[in-house]
């Protein structure tokens, strides 16, 4: 039960994008089309899950026993950078069109603060291993949900009669703000 709560807490109530405002760069950048937005979400979810696993192991089996907690930032960034590199190779091997659609935003997962945020939150909340993994999956699912919803709205917006000064980025930012407001409705439902 607690795991389910952690999952939904990370995915919806404390959504990384719409409640914590982490990872806005790909949220705006790759939300042009639903398919590539969903792929971006899946890639980020994958990186988040593996990051949760690896950083938990490193933190609890390496940094805590040697009292090296001050190295958490450096080592987490190292983990994330290597993982993203791996994911990039993997995507390039498996799907060339996806690789091209994600473009520069794939290596930019490295600097996606949502992922470093996940690793740091996990330490802060003192999760167990299983809890940490579920938290990672939940955060990834939340990111995927947010970016896919955003892409769906933007696809519809392309057909809408948007006033000229608001076309493009302005209306996108407005939509992002409204989405965040909507997600405010969930706040406080779960406090984990």
């Amino acid at each position: 039960m607690e795991l389910i709560l952690i999952f939904f807490s990370a995915a919806i109530v404390n959504n990384f994008v719409l409640a914590y405002f982490l990872g806005i760069c790909p949220f705006i950048g790759v939300s042009g089309k639903i398919t590539s937005a969903f792929s971006m979400g899946m890639a980020t979810t994958f990186v988040m899950t593996i990051t949760a696993i690896v950083t938990w192991l490193i933190y609890h089996l390496l940094l805590v026993p040697f009292q090296l907690e001050f190295l958490q930032y450096v080592s987490f960034i190292l983990v994330i950078a290597s993982l993203v590199q791996f994911v990039e190779m993997f995507v390039k091997k498996v799907s060339q069109p996806l690789y091209r659609a994600l473009g520069i935003f794939l290596p930019l997962i490295t600097t996606n603060c949502a992922i470093l945020g996940l690793a740091l939150f996990m330490v802060l909340k003192d999760y167990s291993f299983i809890q940490g993994v579920v938290y990672g999956v939940g955060a990834g699912a939340g990111f995927t949900l947010a970016i896919t919803v955003m892409a769906g709205i933007r696809e519809e917006l392309d057909l809408a009669d948007v006033p000229k000064p608001f076309k493009g980025v302005p209306i996108t930012l407005i939509v992002a703000g409204l989405l965040a407001l909507a997600f405010m409705g969930f706040s406080g439902l779960i406090s984990i």
Partner: protein, 285 residues
């Protein structure tokens, strides 16, 4: 304190080593075979990712050059040197990559085309003329003479001759196609360099009007079409060459009263001298 420092260094070093090893193995296992030429061509390109070639960026252009979809001369920014290097790298498969040249399919210069009663005053630009009044000539299909193609050419390979018509200097032309896009009348077309016969007119008026507005227009009499076994077809009062089954031997060039169909003029010596003069005068300045 020293111990912590050493442990910290060892830990981070070890982690870095493990990840580096993992990535090295992944690189071996997941390597996608790519034609090494793609990377080599990418290096030769300017790397500005401007999209001037019509592809998503320099890398995309390189991919398309290697797969044969793009011409080695397709990069308008790199210029001739770049095109030459790429051609050298691609082994200049002479058959596959025939040079494309722009052909100006209008010969109605100032002395051939009939002018309107009114004169055009305004910006000397084809796009402006096309919008405002259609220029000075009575023909609504021919060259406006504003020189937008000259402006558009990044290699100074187009000059206006004394007759008010643009001429392509083949030695300087890289086939980038910018002039084709610049022409509001669509009289510039890209053709392989070995095509020598063209219909030098785009006029779709009826025969009487076409004859009135220009002395070298295609009136649409269709004599070339009748003799050519499908090599020339008539479309909207205009002879259009079907290069797939075209045989210049069958065309009665001397029967064309206006000389609209014919061989491309190879004697462009006058036009070539002009940029040389310009460059020498530039040096003097």
């Amino acid at each position: 304190m020293d111990a912590t420092l050493l442990i910290a260094i060892a830990t981070m070093g070890g982690l870095g080593f493990i990840f580096a090893g993992g990535l090295a193995i992944a690189d071996k296992k997941l390597r996608v075979f790519e034609d090494p030429k793609i990377a080599q061509i990418n290096e030769l390109l300017p790397g500005a990712n401007c999209g001037g070639c019509g592809y998503a960026g320099c890398y995309d252009f390189a991919v398309n050059v290697v797969s044969g979809k793009a011409l080695v001369t397709g990069c308008p920014v790199g210029g001739e040197d770049c095109a030459h290097d790429i051609a050298g790298l691609m082994g200049v498969d002479a058959g596959a990559s025939i040079k494309m040249l722009p052909r100006i399919l209008c010969r109605g210069g100032n002395s051939e085309a009939v002018k309107k009663m009114v004169e055009y005053y305004g910006p000397l630009s084809c796009s402006a003329m096309a919008i405002v009044s259609g220029g000075e000539k009575q023909c609504y299909y021919g060259c406006l003479g504003g020189g937008d193609c000259v402006e558009a050419c990044p290699f100074n390979a187009i000059v206006m001759n004394e007759n008010g018509l643009p001429e392509v200097i083949e030695e300087l032309c890289t086939g980038c196609g910018n002039c084709v896009k610049a022409c509001p009348r669509n009289i510039i077309e890209m053709h392989p360099v070995d095509r020598q016969v063209f219909v030098f007119c785009k006029n779709q008026d009826d025969p009487k009007k076409a004859k009135e507005v220009c002395s070298v227009s295609c009136m649409g009499c269709g004599i070339c079409a009748r003799k050519s076994d499908g090599g020339v077809v008539m479309e909207n009062n205009l002879a259009v060459i079907n290069y797939a089954q075209f045989d210049p031997e069958k065309i009665p060039f001397d029967k064309c009263k206006t000389g609209a169909i014919g061989y491309i003029d190879q004697n462009e010596k006058i036009a070539i001298e002009i940029p040389i003069d310009e460059s020498t005068s530039m040096e003097k300045n």
